[in-house]
């Protein structure tokens, strides 16, 4: 096959440079794909799809009849990230998570950042993610956000921006691992030539983080708490529990007694020390949060406050997911770390500020407007794709509750070649790397590349027609010879040694 008729469409393409030639990091892959007989790529795509259905790697779609499972579409052309670029992303993410953790801790204690006038108090007090029940809490080892998935995008200018933070229960990492497993079987020869950093140790690192949080002096029992088989991410919960070798529990399996959490086993009750919970704050403990929750464990927060169980992530981290709080992150980093932000935010208009609000209402057709506390692509307006009536309707919503909205310029998300009807075509992508905060901060070299499969679409969410790709982060060494794309002989020798 050849790439002659591949159209860059005026966007930044992750695989091809402006001259239409493969970027240095993508050359081994491009060469391999070019050498395949016609139709072979499509065959491999079919093989990948079939493998996913058979293995039942599925997610549930809300709003469709119960028990409906779908496979998450997978596209076999990976996104490739060169080593130097990744080094910067990694540094930027570590900086961001460190600052956000300090920010959350401050909010639930002295609120110095508010007293110093950096973040307005009403932004925090009106945030849905701020939990008064968490004021004064001291999570084990002062870590709140143990597991984060930060969404990154690249604009037409080639710059990588942070689009949003996910500090509650970010999902998707199981697809990173499964996609990689598939890709290794589909393109073994490219893996040999490209020096791609592995992701398979994620469950081990995750378990290390979880065990690190247990009270001293015990061999901790770690469990993963799932809302149950009807949750959209149930496959992931079950997969991670299996890969980590920990028990997968539902709320009804746990019970609080005498200041500890216990799980019901066929042989009596056994104590639980660390809970990786994939249940939202709201549903964790009906005695403290929503009283109608059937998913949580009555009394859990009491045990947590007493330090007799660790919750991962800590309750209350959602405040940093708030899309208005997001707009303050550059200032938050400056305030706590006295550093400039490494990975910039997307320029953001805060509707709660009158000047910004006026601009937003006048420029709705050019902007993307997001509700502060929604995720999954819900509650947002994409100006350039919306009708006049939709814009007007949304304007009313914004005026009614300006605090709840932010707006950003419409980004021209970068694209990656993607298998479509009629061959490869560019489709827009974002990237969600996963960050673990335990003894140190670890950024998984890879991440979930989400792709908007519909032509021209910018919405990458799985619930709305998005798919995924494997993400290849290349190792520092060996270095590519820019001229011919071959490995330098010395480095090959080094790699062998």
């Amino acid at each position: 096959m050849n790439f002659c008729d591949y159209d860059l469409g005026g966007f930044f393409d992750e695989m091809f440079g402006e001259n239409g030639q493969p970027r240095a990091a993508a050359r081994p892959l491009a060469r391999n794909m070019a050498s395949l007989p016609p139709g072979e790529l499509a065959n491999r795509q079919i093989a990948a799809d079939r493998a996913l259905v058979q293995a039942g790697i599925t997610f549930n779609v809300y709003g469709e009849s119960a028990g409906v499972e779908k496979t998450l579409p997978f596209d076999l052309v990976p996104r490739i990230v060169p080593a130097t670029e990744w080094a910067r992303i990694e540094k930027g993410l570590i900086q961001r998570i460190r600052a956000l953790n300090l920010f959350i801790d401050d909010l639930y204690h002295d609120q110095k950042i508010i007293k110093d006038g950096v973040v307005p108090t009403e932004i925090i007090s009106s945030s849905k993610g701020f939990r008064e029940q968490c004021i004064g809490l001291n999570p084990p080892r002062d870590i709140w956000c143990h597991i984060t998935g930060t969404d990154l995008v690249r604009h037409r200018d080639g710059q990588i921006y942070v689009l949003e933070d996910n500090l509650r229960c970010p999902s998707g990492v199981s697809y990173v691992l499964e996609n990689r497993r598939l890709m290794k079987s589909l393109f073994p020869e490219v893996f040999a030539a490209s020096h791609i950093r592995p992701v398979s140790n994620y469950p081990i690192r995750l378990r290390d983080v979880l065990e690190y949080l247990a009270p001293d002096g015990v061999t901790p029992r770690v469990v993963l708490l799932t809302p149950g088989v009807f949750n959209s991410a149930y496959f992931e919960h079950s997969f991670l529990a299996q890969q980590m070798g920990v028990e997968l529990v539902e709320g009804s399996d746990l019970v609080v007694s005498e200041g500890y959490v216990w799980m019901r086993t066929t042989n009596g009750f056994e104590r639980v020390d660390v809970i990786y919970r994939r249940v939202d704050d709201d549903f964790l403990d009906p005695e403290v949060f929503r009283a109608d929750s059937m998913l949580g464990v009555p009394g859990l927060m009491g045990v947590y406050k007493a330090g007799n169980v660790a919750l991962v992530n800590a309750p209350g981290t959602g405040v940093a997911d708030d899309k208005v709080v997001y707009a303050y992150v550059p200032r938050i980093i400056k305030y706590y770390l006295n550093e400039e932000i490494i990975l910039p935010n997307v320029p953001t208009y805060i509707c709660a500020e009158p000047k910004d609000l006026g601009y937003v209402l006048e420029h709705l057709p050019e902007l993307v407007v997001k509700a502060a506390n929604e995720s999954g692509g819900y509650g947002m307006l994409i100006g350039p794709h919306a009708s006049k009536a939709e814009c007007e309707e949304f304007a009313l919503k914004i005026k009614a509750n300006p605090r709840n909205y932010i707006a950003q310029p419409t980004l021209a998300l970068s694209r990656v070649p993607t298998m479509c009807e009629g061959g490869l075509a560019g489709r827009h992508v974002d990237l969600r790397p996963y960050i673990l905060y335990g003894k140190d901060i670890f950024v998984l070299p890879g991440g979930l590349t989400r792709v908007a499969l519909k032509k021209g679409s910018l919405v990458v969410n799985s619930s709305q027609g998005g798919g995924t790709k494997d993400t290849w982060v290349l190792a520092d060494n060996p270095i590519f010879n820019e001229k011919d794309g071959d490995l330098k002989a010395t480095n090959v020798a080094g790699a062998v040694a």
């Binding site: 058979q54 293995a55 039942g56 028990g67 015990v218 061999t219 029992r221 149950g228 088989v229 149930y234 079950s238 997969f239 529990a241 299996q242 028990e247 997968l248 529990v249 539902e250 009804s252 399996d253 019970v255 007694s257 005498e258 216990w262 799980m263 019901r264 086993t265 066929t266 042989n267 009596g268 009750f269 056994e270 104590r271």
Partner: protein, 328 residues
């Protein structure tokens, strides 16, 4: 092991076994019809009795049992919780909730099994080539239990699965025996006729017991058939065999030595198994087979309840340090 997980594995196996048994009954009855003189008793109603779902059937169909509606009811009816399709849906849901515990091969097979029955339900295959369809169901079930035995650690979870499977099997064999015996001996005129023999062979076939019976007893004699299906200790679908194995699994789970008991479930199993070990088919017949089987069913139900209460029921920890500390 979590109580919920044990419960799910138990029911997963039980539902797969139930689906297999329903496929057996229907298939054998279809064959039997082919051997019946035209217009002879259309024996479809007893089939509904065997599964114990007479009330559901009457509520859903409100008319006489025919081949068509009984097969629909027992095979594809989503409103009948014990139809093959419903059983597999339930088995799969249970498996899905313990996917990280069972082997991925087991999940794959159960998923494929369910998809096969589901597509037969919508394509009408069960009616077009019933024999092929029911054979596939039986085979898929055998494959599932074979994969289970070959890929899952024979630890606590596996024993719960075996417990579920064998209790279900014992229950179904006892129902076949009860219903068929009642019908066959009702028409005294038929005793000893070729038709009678054909019917008894059908009983054996529905438990896949015909060939093994021949090796053990040779001639087709009702009393020997009862003895074989009820009291044989080596034939894997005989009630005694099933209950002995279920008892062994129960003791493997609880760690209580065989021959002793700590909880009501173990006591009940011990009693049932000794009773079957020392029973004599003549005594059973004198007492009345129906009465004997009825009492046995009651005891098996109590034993199931005992298992539920011992392992699955949601209890709260007893206070003051009686909750078991985790072993370090």
């Amino acid at each position: 092991m979590l109580s919920r997980v044990a419960d799910s594995i138990y029911w997963m196996s039980r539902y797969v076994e139930r689906a297999e048994n329903v496929a057996r009954f229907v298939d054998v009855n279809l064959n039997l019809m082919l051997d019946s003189p035209s217009g002879a008793d259309q024996q479809w109603e007893p089939l509904v009795n065997i599964t114990g779902d007479h009330e559901t059937f009457e509520k859903l169909y409100a008319k006489a049992a025919t081949q068509q509606n009984v097969i629909q009811f027992l095979t594809f009816d989503r409103d009948n919780p014990n139809s093959i399709l419903s059983c597999l849906r339930a088995a799969r849901e249970n498996a899905r909730s313990v996917r990280e515990i069972i082997s991925s091969e087991m999940w794959l097979q159960l998923n494929t099994f369910y998809l096969m029955v589901n597509s037969a339900a919508s394509s009408g295959k069960g009616f077009e080539s019933p024999h092929e369809f029911f054979s596939e169901v039986k085979l898929a079930s055998h494959l599932f239990s074979g994969i289970t035995d070959a890929t899952m650690t024979h630890g606590e979870g596996w024993h719960f699965g075996r417990l579920g499977r064998l209790l279900e099997r014992a229950d179904k064999t006892s129902r076949i025996l009860d219903v068929k015996y009642f019908i066959l001996l009702r028409s005294v005129a038929d005793v000893g006729t070729p038709l009678d023999e054909v019917q008894w062979v059908a009983v054996l076939r529905s438990a896949s017991a015909f060939e093994m019976y021949r090796k053990r007893h040779g001639r087709i004699v009702p009393k020997a058939i009862v003895e074989f299906l009820l009291l044989d200790s080596e034939f894997p679908r005989a009630i005694r065999f099933c209950l002995n194995a279920a008892r062994d699994s129960l003791h493997a789970i609880s760690g209580t030595p065989l021959g002793t008991y700590r909880k009501p479930a173990e006591k009940l199993f011990g009693q049932i198994c000794s009773d079957l070990a020392y029973a004599n088919v003549d005594d059973v017949m004198n007492q009345g087979l129906h009465e004997y089987l009825d009492a046995l069913q009651t005891k098996m139900n109590s034993a199931s309840t005992g298992i539920y209460e011992r392992f699955f029921a949601k209890r709260m920890p007893e206070t003051k340090n009686t909750a078991k500390e985790r072993v370090q």
